[in-house]
Symmetry: C2
Subunit: 341 residues, 2 copies
DNA sequence: GTTAGCACTCGAACACACCGAGTGCTAAAC
DNA sequence: GTTTAGCACTCGGTGTGTTCGAGTGCTAAC
């Protein structure tokens, strides 16, 4: 559909606009081209590209900027993913190695690292999916009236909750309860936990009638999709982007990023392997329709899938971002599966 | 030092400016006053107040705005803390009651509630101080090469960490180690944990020579002052404030709030009981020198102290903020000590 | 198909006048 | 001595007009 030359021009326009955030004129492109063509010729081509919807003009007497369709074509056909420099790779490895024995920190840090590497706001969603298996339940009394309930999954996730006891703690009884729960529930996947609880040991449990409801509630809350696994880093990177100088545009974005649910919605459901890019209106959230969102998945052992990604203006350094995401998702997967880099 | 009348005028100026964010003129004050005085008289008084440093003029032909000294006097002598309406109190109680059995959530939520009530950015710092006592240590193996170490304090705080094992897990050995740690360390305060570990059971532990270092490291990291207990809510509330329309002023603030350490520095060391207000330059962080920070403490059982607070422009609704902080800090303290509202 | 030439468009930057809120000062009134 | 009316003055904000220049579209020539 697009001629070789049109593709070249489109690529140059996008590249230039990504760099400068200024509309690109025909003269600029003319100078950038190997095969010399006069600005007038470029103008004709650009005019055609505009007619086809790949470029647009902010106003008549300005240069062209890529349309979302233009970006889409660029990402699908023109872009060359950039590779990380050896220095950067070394730097990443160092960052991760420092705290190799703390997965929680790794995940948390990843948002920051990703943001530093790309200069966009980054996020990390922890492994979703409820196929994680229960590994251990523990209740630690804090005093007469309170206790901490802790739930550990085989993915290493720890969910905790402080509970107020209805009556003074009876250590032996609690221990008995916990032993029972551990005995019957360990190995069950989180999603089937409640069901299993009701079916299999409901009877035994009902002996302590008033307890039963509470235990059920507790399990329910402990297994509820948690917010804890959403980390956002480099929120303030958005402020650097000229397209968000305007507070009215900035605000909805920041509001969205402030809320873990907002981020989860932005990212959407986990998707196929590899790096995925959603440009502008391809995002469902209206707050993000002037943004592009690039995501990649990582796997932890057990096959659960987590997501890392960045959000920035549609004028995003796609090549760079895709390169970084690609590399980092592999690093994370390796880290979680082999336990080292 | 200040006459009755000057104090009244100062109060009116501050009140008006807090509402409108516009410099206040003599005519406005004249109209606001019970005892009628002409604008000219007010002008004279205002001129005196300016000379004494309580007011300032953005430029010659504008009204006056309070100086930081003016705010300070207002906060110390003129302000009347506002009480919450019964409706608001009911609302707060409802919000807390909903999740009464989840302290972690209570704390997390509090930042949001505080921000909603005041319309400023709010923060909650978890109990600091290292007098928390160790309650329980637990290690849950995840597989051959990994395990989760969990540490619970008597304040209900749970610290967790996923560790990569140097060699395949020997369940019995791990259990033995954990039992030993629990046996010897439970009841010790977090700060003395490491010391105690070295002194008292170092010998026994050294039998597993290569393990020793790792256990020490682990304890060290588990007890390191954690970031987890800093929650910020309503960051985007700052965007509403006219004084931060300017991106250049906004940015350092957001950067500070994004970082848990930044917030901790902003808040400073825990202070005496009651509500404390730091105005403008009274803040050490340069990023916050056009802000006021109001904080209050809450206590959880065991006497540990946590901090809640808000940060906003120096033109802050001090009366309201102080009222809310006062009430909320008591609610929290009650909640954590008696387990109910 | 390409390019030079040229008239045209339109936003950004700047200058300028105007408006009005608010001041400070002086002199008169209480 | 304190308060007030009167008045000239100040200064930022707003709206208008002008200029400038980057960039375009079109036409005609190569």
């Amino acid at each position: 559909m697009l001629t070789e030359r049109q593709q070249l021009i489109l690529r140059l326009v996008v590249d230039d606009y990504i760099r400068s955030a200024e509309p690109v004129g025909s003269r600029t492109i003319s100078k950038r081209m190997e095969a010399h063509l006069s600005p007038a010729t470029i103008r004709n081509e650009m005019s055609d590209l505009e007619e086809m919807g790949y470029l647009e003009q902010p106003h008549t007497s300005a240069g062209r900027i890529p349309s979302q369709k233009g970006y889409r074509f660029y990402v699908d056909h023109l872009l060359q993913p950039s590779f990380l420099s050896p220095r950067e790779i070394a730097q990443i490895r160092r960052l991760f190695r420092e705290r190799l024995d703390a997965m929680e920190h790794v995940v948390k840090q990843t948002a920051g690292i990703l943001s530093t590497l790309t200069n966009y706001t980054a996020f990390v969603l922890g492994p979703m999916g409820e196929e994680a298996k229960l590994r251990h339940i523990q209740v630690v009394p804090l005093g007469e009236w309170a206790a901490v309930a802790i739930l550990v999954t085989d993915s290493g996730h720890v969910e905790k909750k402080t509970v107020i006891l209805p009556d003074p703690a009876d250590l032996a009884e609690i221990q008995q309860l916990v032993d029972l729960l551990n005995d019957r529930l360990v190995g069950a996947s989180i999603s089937e936990l409640k069901e299993k609880l009701e079916q299999q040991i409901g009877l035994e449990l009902r002996r302590h009638v008033d307890r039963y409801e509470r235990v059920l509630n507790l399990i329910d809350e402990l297994t509820a999709p948690t917010e804890e696994w959403v980390y956002v880093g480099g929120t303030t990177k958005i402020l650097e982007q000229p397209e968000f100088r305007d507070l009215e545009k900035l605000k909805p974005l920041l509001v969205m990023l402030e809320d873990a649910n907002g981020v989860a919605q932005l990212v959407g459901p986990p998707m196929r392997q590899g790096v995925q890019v959603r440009i502008g209106y391809e995002n469902e959230l209206s707050a993000a329709q002037e943004c592009s969102v690039a995501t990649a998945t990582y796997r932890i052992h057990g096959g659960q899938v987590g997501i890392i990604g960045v959000v920035g203006p549609t004028r995003m350094e796609y090549g760079r971002v895709i390169g970084v995401l690609h590399y980092l998702s592999h690093v994370l997967t390796d880290l979680f599966n082999r336990g080292g880099l």
